[in-house]
């Protein structure tokens, strides 16, 4: 079964596609059969980062049923072992895929025969993005050291948290419990999922435990990208600490990646960064992050809520 790494982070421009592309290259170089999927349907970029400006097929061929299986939309890249599903040629209305199409896509992704599947998610915290992020328990979050980006990380994490509570308590149960929680403590709203869960545990200990157990299954990873020299290098670790402490979610800090203007030039040249600037500090940061990620014990792939 494939390891699925969804790469998200709320805010745009933090380096999700950049990281996806370069991690994919490292995985492929280390001999893993790797597939990159651009899930950023509306504003796809991954093909450019990889240096494939005009991919022949795209994910919309599968969604619009032009082809029968998702496999048929895979294109090869110049790098051995690295495969790619693009969103470059998507029709303009694809951003709003309906629930049924999304479920079909999620199921198909988990069945693809690769060792690693990396999903490059779009910005935002729409249900679409959240559901792809929750396709596995070990989602990767990318942030910069700016408050705008950090607040979006928290927003995304809380959305995932509340989505998992909703999944665990079937729709009806959730409504009843949430209503009752609100009457007990005015703060127990969906904006404060941690307080909500705490009150739910008091009302219904058994269901509360089930939800809590399920939340404990997450093992997120955090990468702090574009770290400038003047930034505090501990920010990433502290973000993880605050999430673990106040939300009770497990999140590993993977590492910092230094800011480098060469990234800009590599994107302008439409060439993979690791190929043209392999000896920069940023390149070695990426390699170190890659090693930390691979060495982390993979939790069982979880396609929670997808099957229903």
């Amino acid at each position: 079964m494939a390891h699925i790494w969804p790469i998200g982070g709320g805010k745009g421009g933090t380096g999700k596609s950049f990281l996806t592309g370069n991690l994919g290259i490292l995985l492929a170089k280390n001999g893993y059969r790797t597939l990159l999927v651009d899930i950023d349907f509306g504003t796809a970029n991954l093909h450019t980062v990889l240096g494939i400006p005009h991919p022949e097929t795209s994910i919309s061929d599968f969604i619009n049923k032009k082809v029968g299986t998702l496999e048929e939309t895979v294109v090869t890249t110049a790098i051995p072992n690295l495969y790619f599903i693009s969103s470059a040629l998507n029709s303009l209305d694809i951003t709003n895929i309906v629930h049924e199409q999304k479920m079909r896509l999620l199921r198909s992704i988990t069945k693809l025969p690769y060792e690693y599947i990396l999903l490059d998610l779009g910005a935002g915290t729409s249900f679409n993005t959240i559901d792809f992020f929750m396709i596995s328990n070990s989602g990767i979050l990318v942030t910069t050291a700016e408050p705008t980006s950090i607040e979006n990380i928290y927003r995304l994490i809380r959305s995932v948290y509340i989505r998992r509570i909703r999944q665990e308590l079937k729709v009806h149960n959730f409504r009843v419990l949430a209503e009752e929680a609100k009457t007990r403590d005015s703060r127990a709203t969906e904006q404060n999922p941690e307080i909500l869960l705490y009150i739910i545990k008091e009302i219904d200990p058994e269901r509360g435990r089930v939800v809590e157990q399920s939340l404990r299954g997450f093992e997120f990873k955090l990468v702090l990208n574009q770290l400038r020299k003047q930034d505090d290098p501990n920010i990433g670790a502290l973000i993880c600490k605050i999430i673990e402490r106040h939300l009770g979610l497990k999140i590993h800090f993977i590492g910092n990646i230094s800011f480098d203007d060469h990234v800009h030039s590599s994107i302008c040249k439409k060439m993979p960064f690791l190929h043209i600037y392999p000896y920069t500090q940023t390149a070695s940061d990426i390699r170190r992050c890659y090693e930390n990620m691979v060495s982390l014990k993979e939790t069982q792939l979880c396609i929670h809520g997808v099957a229903e």
Partner: protein, 217 residues
Amino acid sequence: MNPFRKQNHYELLEISPGASPMEIRRAYKNAFELYKDESIVSYSFFTPEERKEIIAGLEDAYLTLINPESRAEYDRTLIASGAVEEEAPYYHKTRDPISIYDLRKTHADMIGPRRRTEDLKHVVSHNKLIQEIMSQDSLTGADLCKIRKELGISLEKIAEETNIRISMLRAIEGDDFDSFPPMVYLKGFLKSYARYLQVDEHVIIDGYIKRVGKQHS
């Protein structure tokens, strides 16, 4: 883990019940950095009211634990509620600074300069030959040499300990007036020599200089 708002002071500051005042101070400082208004890390994570509540909690925890009296009282309530083991609190294993008395004691156990000087003094005051020489009106180099040999100390040893050149020491003991340094230095050398042998430096200097003075000047 307890939900955040139900944590006790130690859990809040993320320290053990055995933490020292220094650790408490550091923990408070770190926690404050993380939760203060300007913190970039906790930005948007809390509402202003939540933040206020957390900061107030941290301050309360810090002020309670940093004062030994209020800490002891707080620990008693924790122990009574079963949250903390009895042995854990800090004041049960307070480490006092090592007292000066202890230092002296360890020195006395060592074979050091102190032992040597006392032994020497003892020999000097009980040795008949040395007493006889010391009671003379004036002293020659040979007299000094006799005292030294009686005490069983080599010239090399004196040279090493006093940093006086061995040729100078030989000149003194051999009454080699031509090699003598100016009087001030000679007195200094005699003083070091006498002190090392633990004999009365005034007797040595006066007795020796008296004779040298006649011929040297």
